[in-house]
């Protein structure tokens, strides 16, 4: 079972205690945006085989949203971090680079 540490309350939470919120760091475009921008935000997904960033909610716990960095081929967790950021913090990026040199994900690498 997947286990993620909630960065807010510190609990090591089992998957059954969490709900998955999909891809992280989606860029939302305001009114007047083009069809292509809206499509990208609404439907296009990174869906990588490897390093991935996601939103999760500690639903049956403290209730807070947070971010997780995870590998979709091994289910290894690189770390979890605050929901209040628009890209992964440096220590998470470093942790991933140590294990997956040369990884890429959108403009963050």
């Amino acid at each position: 079972m997947l286990t993620l540490q909630c960065p807010y309350c510190g609990v090591m939470a089992d998957e059954t205690e969490l709900s998955a919120g999909g891809e992280a760091h989606l860029k939302r475009f305001g009114p007047g945006s083009s069809d292509a921008e809206f499509e990208t935000y609404m439907f296009m997904r990174e869906n990588p085989k490897g390093v991935h960033f996601e939103r999760w909610r500690h639903a049956n716990g403290c209730g807070k949203w947070f971010h997780a960095a995870r590998c979709t081929t091994t289910l290894e967790v690189f770390g979890t971090y605050s929901a209040q950021v628009s890209e992964p913090p440096q220590d998470i990026k470093d942790a991933i680079t140590a294990k997956r040199p040369g990884w890429a994900w959108r403009e963050f690498a």
Binding site: M1, L2, E15, T16, S19, A20, G22, E23, D35, A36, F38, E39, T40, M42, F43, M44, R45, E46, N47, P48, K49, H52, E54, R70, T72, T73, T74, L75
Partner: protein, 414 residues
């Protein structure tokens, strides 16, 4: 290709079965093909088959990174039905279902199509209303379905508990000509027919790159070297995102694990397929006597072909209420496949931003039933550049807001 027949069995019996030939050849790749199909699942093989059969295009290779039919085609619970809500879905799924009726004869390969009937249970008042609507839509689409009451459900499925307590059976959407087929046989039958037309099915050959000349595809890189082609069909289900990235475009797809499990074999007790979408579970009995059970997908992206155990637990827990007798069954095997989910839960059969590349994906949790119809449409699209069956399923529908929304109607969409 030597035909299979009662006579062939007698002939081989008389010579100790020494004369059976290999069902398909295992050639080395040529330098160039007119068409390369990536992915030897049901959809890829059916595409190749109809390219040959309907359009005479036989200089075709089907490249498969693992073994033929080892993806979702060999991992699914084989439910075949066409009682969808939207017109474009009804058209392609009903085309597929009708091709299943004659597939064994067409391919000279027994795919064990069993039109035993499929019931989708209505266990809430919303579901009753939803299925009444679907039954009316199906009547207009020429798809034979019927809304039946709880007594009729009980008559068709004696082992069912229609009284609840939590989710009583209020009725069901009944498709008498839905059913099941042998999944491996579908892949094997198409592979044999493709090989007989002179096509090359190349297993253990992973596509690792897509070669382009400007906006046009010119070939692929594989673990067996570079191979040139004029047209490329990407038919790789859960790996569609990976192939799209190699080709230089994006898809509105996420890959999730979907699981199934089977029980120990027992005597025949249920001769229809029953789906219970409110509680996320469905069940049928295989010819071997195993109860074949499936549920919903996991919530997060995953390429590991195994899902989370608690999903199995939830599915079985829900089904036990409706089928109390299964509480005593031992479960034998459990497995997962990586399904390709789109935003509107409908597939993509489409041209792409790269000239010569076509994509067929997004069948998600429910594409086994669609294999022949999808192959038919994809072949037509690749050969002629236009297919009426595929037309509404273009990938630009997301930008244009023309969704083919089956998520509400289908719930657990197998």
């Amino acid at each position: 290709m030597r035909r299979y027949s009662a006579f062939a069995i007698a002939r081989e019996a008389a010579r100790y079965h020494t004369g059976w030939e290999r069902a398909w050849a295992s050639p080395e790749p040529k330098k160039k093909y007119d068409v390369i199909i990536v992915g030897a699942g049901g959809h890829g093989l059916a595409t190749a088959y109809y390219l040959g059969k309907n359009f005479g295009i036989t200089n075709v290779a089907v490249l498969e990174k693992g073994w033929l039919g080892g993806g979702n085609t060999g991992r699914n619970t084989t439910i075949i039905r066409s009682n969808y809500l939207q017109d474009p879905s009804a058209a392609i799924y009903e085309k597929a279902r009708s091709l299943y009726e004659t597939m064994s004869q067409d391919l000279n390969y027994n795919v064990m199509f069993s039109p035993r009937g499929v019931i989708m249970l209505a266990q809430t008042h919303h579901e009753v209303r939803g299925y009444l609507r679907t039954a009316h839509a199906n009547a207009l689409q020429g798809v034979e379905t019927q809304f039946i009451g709880p007594e009729k459900v009980k008559e068709l499925v004696p082992i069912i508990n229609i009284d609840g307590p939590r989710y009583p059976v209020l009725g069901g959407l009944w498709q008498p000509r839905g059913g099941t087929a042998r999944h491996d046989a579908v892949a094997w039958g198409y592979a044999r027919a493709c090989s007989a037309m002179g096509m090359d099915i190349i297993q253990k050959c992973e596509v690792t790159g897509v070669r382009r000349d400007g906006d046009k595809v010119v070939g692929v890189d594989t673990t067996k070297g570079a191979i040139d082609c004029d047209k490329l069909g990407i038919v790789v289900a859960g790996h569609s995102g990976v192939m799209a990235e190699m080709s230089g475009f994006r898809l509105p797809i996420e890959s999730l694990a979907l699981q199934a499990l089977v029980s120990e074999p027992i005597k025949p007790c249920m001769d229809v397929v029953v789906m219970a979408n409110t509680v996320h579970g469905y069940m049928s009995q295989s010819d071997k006597g195993e109860m074949v059970i499936g549920g919903g997908t996991d919530g997060f992206n995953n390429y590991t072909q195994r899902g989370s155990f608690h999903h199995v637990e939830e599915t079985v827990r829900a089904l036990i209420e409706t089928f109390p007798m299964i509480s005593r069954l031992k479960m034998l095997r459990q497995w997962g496949g990586i399904v390709d989910m789109t935003g509107d839960r409908s597939p993509i059969i489409s041209k792409t931003p790269v000239d010569g590349i076509f994509v067929n994906c997004g069948w998600g949790t429910g594409g086994f039933k669609a294999i022949p119809g999808s192959g038919w449409a994809m072949a037509e699209l690749m050969a002629k550049g236009y297919s009426p069956l595929a037309n509404e399923f273009g990938m630009n529908r997301f930008a244009e807001g023309r969704f083919i929304d089956e998520s509400v109607a289908a719930g657990v969409a197998h």
